[in-house]
């Protein structure tokens, strides 16, 4: 477990970029936090750091459910805000994406067992002030511990 205060959007993007450098095929990062906490901002920082060009807009996937990108790895950015049933997730092909070696960023995924069982790391964001965010990085399994160990040496 790692807890930090991110003073502004720049620090959120920098932490996301540091995490992105350590990501490998099949990693699923869960992004949690209330509306406006900065989940999509965090995903944007990580996706650009994974090599998606800076002029490619990383927009909210709430409506489309899944946006796919190609960086140094295939990337999927998913948002299950609108979903209610775990069965709907299966049709979105989460397993196939992970098997194909993609890195997944999933917003609003905690309530779904098929996301929770695959997550290596939960990034929990909370609004501290207009600009600042509190973040809790909660690792799951050995892979999560590896990611946290890598980040701890940086921050």
């Amino acid at each position: 477990m790692l807890e930090l205060v991110l003073n502004d959007e720049g620090e959120t993007l920098a932490l996301a970029a540091a995490l992105a450098d350590a990501l490998a095929p099949g990693d699923l990062i869960g992004l949690e936090g209330e509306l406006g906490a900065g989940k999509t901002t965090f995903a944007r920082g990580a996706i650009h750091a994974l090599g998606v060009p800076a002029d490619t807009a990383i927009t909210s996937p709430t409506f489309a459910l899944v946006h796919q990108y190609q960086g140094r790895l295939p990337i999927a950015h998913a948002d299950f805000y609108r979903l209610t049933k775990d069965a709907e997730l299966e049709e979105l092909g989460i397993d196939e994406l992970l098997e194909e070696g993609a890195v997944l960023f999933v917003e609003w995924g905690r309530k779904f067992p098929s996301v929770a069982s695959r997550a290596s790391l939960w990034v929990e964001l909370e609004i501290a002030s207009d600009q600042a965010r509190r973040v809790r990085l909660d690792p799951r399994g050995e892979r999560g511990d590896e990611l946290i160990a890598g980040l701890s040496s940086l921050v």
């Binding site: 709430t62 946006h67 796919q68 990108y69 049709e91 979105l92 092909g93």
Partner: protein, 358 residues
Amino acid sequence: MRVLGIESSCDETAAAVVTDQGEVLADVVASQIATHGPYGGIVPELASRAHIRAIIPVIHEALSGIPGGLAGVDAIAVTRGPGLVGSLLVGVQVAKALAWSLDKPLVGVNHLDGHLFAIYLQRRESDEPTSVPKMPHISLLVSGGHTALYRVEGFSDVVLLAQTRDDAAGEAFDKAAKLLGLGYPGGPVIDELAARGQADAFSFPLPMASRKTLDFSFSGLKTALARHVQQAGVPKDEQTLANLCASFQGIIVESLVRKSLLACEREAIDQLVITGGVAANRGLRASAKVACDKNRITLFVPPPISCTDNAAMIAMAAVHRLADGESDDLSFAVYSRDPDRRRGKFRADGTLVDHKSE
């Protein structure tokens, strides 16, 4: 020429028949026939399974009034992206099977082109023909999933000028409604409350206020509202709630209208189209009308039935390619994300036409 359009990119399953003049002969959307049609029980669901259940009944319904039915159709158009791959495949596979078995030309359409060309649809139920813009014109596409400005040069020549850097405007409405406990979808309910409120009662920062960029951003506005609710709570009395909705909607509308006018000014074009689901917003329509009149810009807004997701617009977007004798090979693939047209001009099939220098 009659074109059968098929749409299954997101929540809606839809089929329509449109002539090469843009006349809408049939226009069926699964969620709209659920309540009164013989196919009760079809409700929009976020699953390709729902599209599979709905697609054949919806196509049947669309063809029911066409002389000769399927045989009376000359070509087929289908949405190939952007959208959910599993959902897109339902429409595309049905369209390919129909085209192959009937030996009719098939065209794959970008869903966003459908929205851009929906203004050219002529609907029988309206008393007077919809007035249509000439090319080139500026188009603001504003919906739950997209917010972008285009320079529309022709039916196969669309240039993306700017888009949202984070949330779509429709998404901002939906999430604001959620924060205020107003239910889903958020646009209509906020629009209604806003009409009774004072837009200057609460102060929200205007996003991307600089005239240097045409891009939109609505995530910060959503966060500002979330912070407001976190600190002050949801307003208890109706007038304060209406004021809050008016102030929030007012900023979204101001941002959309300002950037649209700036796009017209920069591109030296005096015709603006506003299309997509949020184009039904009364506050947006009213503000855009006033601003366009003041700046001598002619405003075009399709009727609400053409603004929300439908298949008539998909057929419309294919008409010109079909009229030129073009069609797609049956092997074409679907795509989940819009090809980035900011870097140049793309054809309907996503291939680059020509590079536009910055």
